[in-house]
């Protein structure tokens, strides 16, 4: 009997202790509040992986897969490893909305979201913002130029700046004859047509003749549209036509006596999928000789880029196409976005997005006296040493404005025969201002 009482007494003492330990353990697994918590963290890649823009999602997924070892192999985020998960929007708001809702509802360990293209950003950004998850969106839509969404970040310029840079090719680009007549060939959707007005304004300001020839992206043929465009006898075509450029330019060549007209592409055309699409109909030589493009001023070199590239090559074990995105601007930027988010969590010692979100901008822009860091490890070491940091990543310096839009200068580029980007010139600050003033938007 005494033995039983002793056991009962021991249990009365032990049970609350066990309960306390269990509660403590549960508490530490929570990601809310102060402390970095425990358990894996998730980066949601919210983008089209099927549908007409299925080529976009993989570029963003590659960014996440490259960031994953960069963070996980260097202590992770306070020991919490990150993983990447695809959430397919199919490039349609109707599919994107439930995908985004499901993503935020089912994953309490979501640390950041990357992707959200122009196809679905308007639909998904408010959902992600309401969930207080930092997001890095690849949209050029002007509605985000002065967004009120606090968790929205954009590391690429608005489409209008792409349009100005394309006009920059006409005005300042080297090694081409004078182009006086410009045909604008963009999709007839709102997003694609956002290039048209600023380009038209700027070109007309410089005395050029411009005509808009919208096309319905995804159509199986554009021969009537091409015939109409050829009747205009343009010197150069401005285009993007994601998913339809191959068909359109193939039909241009076919109906133009086998000759390709010079064409200038947006920064989105610096993309392996676009290169493959176009070279599948017109030849690689045609693209090398007639294509001009614009892009943000990447160096594709330096510590940050080398680290990114090494991680991207390693990501081929998970995603065989990953190395193809080594010169894709969006892949570089989203990689940087994930690294900056992880560093912001370290710097605030918090897994609560309400705490670390504002730190992302500080780490991107830097504060007075901040130490420049180029890798996650450099950033972590500097933070542990009590320093303020500025992350200058694979995509170069960032400069977020009050609306979390980051801008940088443009370069004029071409393709080489392997689909690699070749820088031809850089637009100077004065040229950029002249173009922007000419556009007047």
């Amino acid at each position: 009997m005494d033995t039983f009482r002793r056991h009962l007494h021991s249990a009365r003492i032990a049970l609350p202790a066990v309960a306390a330990i269990l509660l403590a353990a549960c508490g530490s697994s929570s990601s809310a509040g102060s402390g970095l918590g425990t358990g894996d963290l998730l980066v949601g890649v919210l983008a089209p992986f099927s549908g007409p823009d299925a080529n976009l999602g993989p570029a963003y997924y590659a960014a996440c897969l490259a960031a994953q070892p960069e963070i996980n192999n260097h202590g992770a985020v306070g020991g919490r490893k990150i993983s990447c998960q695809k959430f397919d929007t199919r490039g349609e708001p109707a599919d994107a909305t439930p995908a985004a809702s499901q993503m935020v509802a089912s994953n309490s360990n979501l640390m950041a979201v990357v992707g959200c293209t122009s196809d679905e950003a308007s639909a998904v950004a408010p959902i992600v913002d309401r969930a207080h998850i930092p997001m890095f969106c690849m949209t050029g839509q002007s509605e985000f130029n002065k967004t009120k969404l606090q968790y929205f970040h954009r590391l690429v310029p608005a489409d209008i700046f792409d349009a100005y840079a394309m006009v920059g090719w006409v005005q300042y680009g080297p090694n081409h004859p004078t182009w006086n007549k410009v045909a604008l060939v963009f999709g007839d959707d709102i997003g694609s047509q956002s290039f048209v007005q600023p380009a038209t304004n700027a070109l007309q300001h410089f005395g050029k003749t411009v005509k808009n020839f919208p096309i319905h992206l995804g159509a199986s043929s554009f021969r009537t549209e091409v015939t109409s465009m050829l009747a205009f006898q343009p010197d150069v075509i401005f285009t993007e036509a994601l998913g339809s450029a191959g068909t359109y330019l193939g039909e241009v060549k076919e109906l133009n006596g086998g000759k390709t007209i010079p064409f200038v592409g947006t920064s989105a055309t610096i993309d392996p999928a676009w290169f493959k699409d176009v070279t599948s109909t017109i030849s690689v030589d045609d693209v090398v000789n007639n294509y001009r493009g614009v892009d943000l001023g990447y160096t594709f070199s330096g510590t940050a880029y080398d680290e990114f590239n090494a991680n991207l090559q390693a990501a081929a074990a998970t995603f065989a196409d990953a190395p193809k995105y080594k010169q894709r601007g969006s892949t570089l930027h989203l990689y940087d976005g994930i690294i900056m988010t992880a560093l912001a969590m370290l710097a605030t010692n918090s897994a609560d997005p309400k705490v670390y979100n504002s730190k992302i901008k500080e780490i991107a822009n830097g504060v007075s006296g901040a130490t420049d860091v180029h890798t996650y490890k450099e950033g972590m070491d500097a933070i542990n040493a009590g320093k303020s940091i500025r992350y200058v990543g694979a995509g170069g310096q960032n400069n977020f404005d009050e609306y979390n839009n980051s801008q940088s200068g443009y370069i004029l580029v071409k393709y080489d025969a392997q689909g690699g980007e070749v820088q031809v010139a850089m637009l100077t600050t004065a040229q950029t201002k002249a173009l922007s003033d000419a556009g007047g938007i």
Binding site: S50, S220, T224, T227, S228, G246, G250, L255, K276
Partner: protein
Amino acid sequence: MSILIAAFGFGLVSASVIALAAVGFTMQFGITNMINLAYGEVMIASAYVAYYVDQRGVSIWIAMLIGAAFGAVFSFLINRLIYAPFQRKGTALLGMVIVSLAVSLMIANIMLPIVGYFAVSYNERFSTLLRFGALALTVNQIAIFALAGAIMVAIHALLRYTRLGKAMRATAANPALARNCGIPTQRVIDAVWLITGALCGLAGVVAALDSDSFTISSGAGFLITALAAAVLGGAGQPYGAMIGAVVIGLITEMSAAVWSPDYKQVVAFAILVVVMVLRPQGLLARRGAAAAAG
């Protein structure tokens, strides 16, 4: 004026492509009572089969036959393994539409990791451009036009003058009565799936050849135009589908020339809506007839 003539030529080529797809689609529905929303995906799968054959140095015209054979076998198997068991259980027409939608999504998602998301094109995508005044057509386009014409004549001959065609029409009109009259309806239905599947495969390769390049996502676009032509002509009516294809093919191109490419889909589908309001059974079908192909 010259742009109108050019658009007329392009419209005829588009009509040829649409007709090949729409006739197969509408025959499937008319005879087997199956609205097969996986049709577009079978088209694109056949186009990829022809692509892989073409990449091995085989002429696209031979590859086209292989694509058609693939479409025939694939469609036959889809019916035998998926649709027929549901139909035997008495699944309603709407339920079968959902099943076919599921099959469509399954095919698309199974194909994606296999073929990738990059655009591809056939080796013979370019051919000599011939000009007849303002009309400009390539040799490939003229061949597509001739091929579609020959296939339409063959379909007409099949339905009108062969025992199989008559059995198909009888099965479409009243399957139970046809069976009681000694027609082996199951074999007839199998033959329908093989023939319409071959048309589907052929249409996929032709559409992919005509559009210079194609991707995994092209199937949805193919289905929409085939569906529109079939509905416009009268569901289940092969001749109606041919007329529907000509109307949609010509209107989309001509409206792009006259107004703006922005409106070419709008105009085509506005006409479809108007016809549906004025003549719900379509241009050729008798009211309520989902049968009597031909």
